[in-house]
Amino acid sequence: MPGSVAEITAEAAVLESHKKFLRSTSPFPRLLALNTAGIRQFEQLGFPHRKHEMFTFLSTRELAATLFEYRTGNDDVSRDCVAGQVYKGCENSCIVLVDGQYRPELSDTSGLPSAFGILSIEDAVAADSGIENYLKESIGGENDAFAAINSAFFSQCPVIRIAADARCAVPLQVLHLSTGSAADPVMTAPRLLFHAAPGAEIKLIVKYAGLRDNYFVNSVQDFILERDACVTFTQVQEDAGNARHFSKNRIVLRRDSRFMAANASSGSRLTRHHYDVHLNESGAELRLNGLSVLRGEEQVHNYIKVVHAAPQCTSNQVFKNIVNDKSRSSVDGTVVVEKDSQLTVSDQLINNLVLSDDARADSKPNLMIHADDVKCTHGNTVGQVDEEQLFYLKTRGLPQEAAQTLLTKSFAASLLQTIEFASVRNDLANTLLKKLEANHA
């Protein structure tokens, strides 16, 4: 679909940058094939124009107008920079990526059992042709232009494999650290692939953080869950205020596997989460909760697609957004129930709390049901603080401000409660909930 001058220029800039990228690096042939498939797919999709259905609630105009220099890695990062970003309990189970490059010397995997393997993409595809086929297929069929850009540029893709029936007491943290830039804006393309073998269980925390401003982190993560595998997943977005963050998580669920996810965003200049979930075999289960607490001119947009491609699968989504000042959030969520996916159970709920006249929260819940024996619900609310709750607290002597803060916090806290890791919960209470205190101070 043709775009305006801005999109055409941006597209040309990406292609030009890609030529430069290919000249400067020499990926091994199989990776080169994937990068090439990525850029072809991007050419097919084009730079998204203003009315693209995947970008209904956000403008990519500003991204199109900014010339990003592509960057892979930055050596100027010390252990001290990393230490403050590692959650309590993950000190010996933390994988660090700096500007998309896996940095073993900054990581510590001594607390992980041997059933956890971190393979380079070369080794992973050499060991398992299934991984390469999966990547070929997903990159060739990519529907998100920015994920296609990632496919074109990624130079590493650590593959994290959890052996069959393996369990780990400690959670694994993945830290995506962006170093940003003092001058020209930079783009990075972190990419990861998680493969949970049958019966494997892993608790995973992914955190995005920035050391400086002025970057565009454009990330893709794939999750393949084999039969009976269970991944408890928390993604925390705490990028620098002026950063752009686009991340796509593609999740493929096989028989009786479970993906229990929470996504917490503190927002930035422009943040977009894309969750693309495929419940491909019966008994698979998805839980996806999302929370954004925004102020100033921060933006967080969620684009969610959940495909029930097999009978007797369950998906449950709850999104909560708190917007203040001139901030914006959106949830564009579609659940597709395919023709033979009988006995599907699917719920989707979006609650927005709008604290100022200039803030905006958009919701577009969407159900596409092609089977006849299913139980699907969706709901959506937008509102201010509940007047009856406010009155109740005031009758107990709490001043207006304190009562209002308590209620906005409670709106977020009920979702934070679903995050399994106490250290992440506490950290988010200190970042997200603190933002709400300042709002009313």
Binding site: E387, F391, K394, T395, G397, L406, S410, F411, A413
Partner: protein, 248 residues
């Protein structure tokens, strides 16, 4: 302590209370009884300062102060407590933390130092025994998923923590089984003394078996149509409210 004179009040432009006068002194327990829609709950909401309920005529003074000059939270800090007919559920707000915030707001108002969570925990344990509440309710979200009985016990727990001078209990007995009713009423009785006053609003006489009022007022069509001692409540139980309803 409380002096209501010719109060007219309503909800969104509809007059519901149509000329109520009532005087409550320290050490007194008053009961207001009446059929549904007679204005009982409106009166309670006006006393607490609910923003949707407005007084259009008449005056209310509390300890010599014009009540209308006080915001909802100031009324609470000055010692007025409303026990809700339908306590509000607030998921995400920890019950014990909320109680401590309310307790400390009151302490600050009285010029006292705030208490820390550990000290408050001890205070709270004592208060919970008073209303026979399981300590597990400390860590629950405020009223969230509580049974009807636990919600009402939680109201009285809040009353025990805040030690109000004037407590207005709006249909505290509704939705309670006989055991819960006894526990709630015992709690209220233990909290009452000669310096305090109680206004108990109820549809049924049942609660007044446990909380013995000095005065019973019958409210009908927004007016107090009869006042008597506690025997009036028994009388009403036999006669019903029909006479008042048809009389208008």
């Amino acid at each position: 302590m409380l002096e209501i004179k010719d109060l007219h009040a309503g909800f969104e432009g509809t007059e519901i209370v149509k000329g109520v006068s009532l005087s409550i002194k320290a050490g007194e327990i008053h009961a207001i009884m009446g059929p549904n829609g007679s204005g009982k709950s409106t009166l309670a909401k006006v006393l607490a300062g609910h923003p949707s309920y407005t007084a259009t005529q008449g005056s209310i003074t509390y300890n010599g102060k014009n009540l209308y000059d006080l915001s909802t939270e100031q009324r609470a800090l000055e010692g007025i407590f409303l026990g809700f007919q339908y306590p509000v559920e607030i998921p995400g707000v920890n019950n014990a933390e909320f109680l401590r915030m309310a307790y400390n707001a009151k302490r600050v108002h009285l010029g006292l130092e705030e208490v820390d969570p550990l000290d408050f925990d001890e205070i709270l344990d004592g208060k919970m025994k008073l209303v026979e509440m399981d300590p597990k309710y400390k860590d629950r979200f405020l009223n969230d998923g509580f049974s009807g009985g636990e919600k009402k016990k939680n109201e009285i727990l809040q009353m025990a923590v805040l030690e109000p001078q004037l407590a207005v209990l709006d249909e505290t007995d509704s939705g309670l089984d006989i055991d819960a009713l006894r526990i709630v009423a015992n709690g209220v009785n233990k909290l009452f003394d000669k310096d305090k006053a109680l206004l108990v609003i109820t549809h049924y006489q049942r609660l007044l078996e446990y909380i013995q009022p000095h005065f019973v007022h019958v409210l009908s069509h927004g007016k107090i149509v009869e006042t008597g001692g506690k025997e009036l409540a028994h009388d009403l139980e036999k006669r019903g409210y029909d006479q008042y309803v048809t009389a208008n």
